[in-house]
Amino acid sequence: QLLTHNMLMAPGTKNGFPLAIEVEKMETVESEFRSEFTARMVQKPVTQVEYGALLQTLAGLGMDGTLPPAVPDSYESNEEFLRALHHVLMEARRVIDGTLVCPETGKRFPIKDGIPSML
């Protein structure tokens, strides 16, 4: 899921973030919408999700426009935004097989059966 992807960085690099995703096979998953949890992911100052990196990732997946260019004001009560964010983070793309590519070194990390390997 993109929630996990957004937390990953290539080991041993300074700028290996976000990792590019090459998808071979993916699926959507269903996930219960929890507005409070979703809001907390972008809540400042402790942002769980790097929003800029998320937008960049979405663009790479051809999903630009799925989310607004910035977190809206009063996002906590903006259900439309929260649902869109929830969908992107938890449901939209679960990569089954593919590759994560480090933007700094080009090093490739495989994803197999839904499990990325950063070893």
């Binding site: 929630l3 937390m7 960085m9 080991p11 949890f37 769980q48 499990i115």
Partner: protein, 231 residues
């Protein structure tokens, strides 16, 4: 969820089949896992939490956290064989747990860009560990005891990694040999954690590895909570 019920559920989580001595893998028994989870839930609240399970093995702690209402769990292990079993368990339990093959220490050492969520301290700057803070509300682990030559220091390395991955105000729950208590307290404090022993447990280690001479052995284990200061 009641203790008995949770223990019952967790007994359905398979352990991995070929434990590796060099990784010092010991499955967390269901009753100990359940105690850890209920304590974490009572103190920090698992409902809607973002949780990490470090060195997850078969995933018993992470799956248990999800059963208690965690919104999402990231379970990490560097052993592909353990992850394979964890994947089967996650599928069986239909819980929001994602798996990642990664060295826990490396995961926490990543020096994220300014304000990155994983926002972990600089790779060469151990001093600011914990200052940046990570993304997770609660980090659960049953780390290697770090007492074999191959795993030397792994217990402390896991604890430090856990504290780095925690958000400010979050907490790490971990198991360490009672014999290491003063050392763990010191290391946790250095990493910015306010650590206390929640309970003293007996951990029954079955005879799994060649270096085990007795049929099974009780080891005194401390159950720790290390909280990362808020802000």
């Amino acid at each position: 969820m009641k203790l008995k019920q949770l223990v019952g559920e967790l007994q359905g989580v398979q352990s991995w089949r070929h434990p590796k001595s060099e990784l010092e893998q010991y499955p967390t028994p269901p009753d100990i896992a359940a105690h850890m989870l209920l304590a974490a839930d009572a103190e920090d609240g698992l409902e809607d939490a973002l949780v990490a399970d470090l060195g997850c093995g078969g995933g018993v702690l992470g799956i248990g956290a999800a059963l208690l209402g965690a919104a999402h769990v990231l379970a990490v292990d560097l052993d592909p064989a353990a992850l394979e079993v964890a994947a089967e368990n996650v599928e069986e339990f239909e819980v929001p747990v994602s798996l990642l093959g990664c060295d826990v220490v490396q995961l926490a050492m990543r020096s994220g860009p300014e304000g990155a969520p994983s926002g972990v301290a600089d790779a060469e700057g151990g001093a600011d560990a914990g200052a940046a803070g990570g993304a997770f509300d609660i980090v659960l682990m049953n780390p290697p005891f770090g007492t074999r030559n191959e795993s030397h220091g792994a217990d402390v390395a896991f604890l430090q990694a856990g504290l780095r991955l925690c958000r400010p105000g979050g907490a790490v729950y971990s198991l360490h040999k009672t014999s290491t208590r003063p050392f763990i307290a010191k290391k946790a404090a250095e990493a910015g954690g306010e650590a206390s022993v929640v309970a003293e447990l007996r951990f029954e280690i079955p005879r799994m590895y060649k270096h085990h001479r007795q049929p099974s052995k009780d080891v005194a284990v401390d159950f720790w909570r290390a909280a990362l200061a808020a802000g």
